[in-house]
Symmetry: C3
Subunit: 158 residues, 3 copies
């Protein structure tokens, strides 16, 4: 792999797909953007900055992400709301090992019936991406969220 | 046309121009980003998801967009406010017919005097873009908005 | 210089770095993204639109930006909060003189303990960028902010 226009475009598409599966569905396609043996961590920024490894959510395989999707699909029924991701400032680098390391900022805007949109979560992604069968997939995704409130919607992927 | 760096850059510029004409003006330049026989639809997400074709706004030509601009310019006088678009997660594909199909997420932040900025609208674009006289223009633009509130500012293009 | 994929990628990286030094630190690296003799202006949109040159903050050298960082670092201690920049709709052009002119929209989301994230500032950048020792740096940055409220946090770079 070489960091050229084609690869950059694939990386941006991966992030666009990441957002669209979470925002517009189908949510079952979200885990497919990860390799089998992947690591997904949701870490408060306070912890991350102080080098505390504790994540408030840790999924160590695609199977665990699929479980999470199932949990959301059972929960989400009861309280309808829409989410919208903005993923910006994507900065991807190709390492000598053929792994893409990427950082990006994100925000998730929530829309609940009868209310103005509000920012549910904001923070950054620190990711590792690999090429598997001609498709890019996440092998590691750290979601470092700035928010100090733990919203009751944390079950939902970010 | 080939989806190469040049074309991708032109697509991103079209979206940047789309935002800047709406945010910073001149608003009269906004309809010029569409071809004569274009379709602009503003559709609530609820309707779109359930395959209901009903749009709350439907403009079937550039002339209708120009009418809309005229309406805004007469209305906007009375209540000063600023808008700011963020268009992210742009994902463009080139079809065999030479049409670019593109999706993107958007948010519109409104600033009214004496108040903190707030999110006026959030959602996604589903667009078709063609090359006319060496310039890219929208031939179809669907604005699918997540917000369930219909704000009183809906006359303003999004 | 030629506006090709390599240059575009460097420009996007400069903006990603700009955001990350402000959001995640180290803040001391922020002035390093400017050339020695650079101009940084913070201008209310009202003034800018009416061609009033008055900026509410004017830094005419990298040294002045460093002073500002020092001021922030002394102030920020007392009131912890997190910032997150989204820089979108980046539109860069290469001039005949080898200077890159670029515009972009930005928003800054603030997170304070125990509160939902809120939009602190929103507006646009109008920038000039040059290549110095194989690195891109800002030679001029105008921050045109839409917000009409002057927040008490204006000391913080945007």
């Amino acid at each position: 792999m070489k960091m050229d226009f084609e690869l950059q475009q694939k990386i941006h598409r991966l992030y666009a797909k990441y957002a669209s599966t979470l925002d517009d569905g189908p949510l079952q396609d979200w885990p497919k953007l990860f390799v089998e043996e992947s690591l997904y961590l949701l870490i408060p920024r306070d912890n991350y900055d102080e080098n505390l490894p504790m994540a408030i959510m840790r999924c160590e395989s695609r199977g665990m992400l699929e479980d999470r999707v199932a949990a959301v699909q059972n929960t989400i029924m009861h309280e309808p709301r829409y989410l919208r991701h903005h993923i910006t400032n994507i900065d991807a680098q190709l390492t000598d090992q053929g792994v893409v390391t990427a950082t990006a900022n994100y925000s998730v805007i929530e829309v609940v019936e009868g209310d103005l949109p509000k920012i549910l979560s904001v923070g950054r992604y620190i990711d590792k991406i690999v090429m598997v069968d001609h498709a890019l997939k996440f092998v590691e995704k750290k979601v470092i969220y700035d928010s100090v409130l733990v919203p009751n919607t944390i079950v939902y992927p970010i």
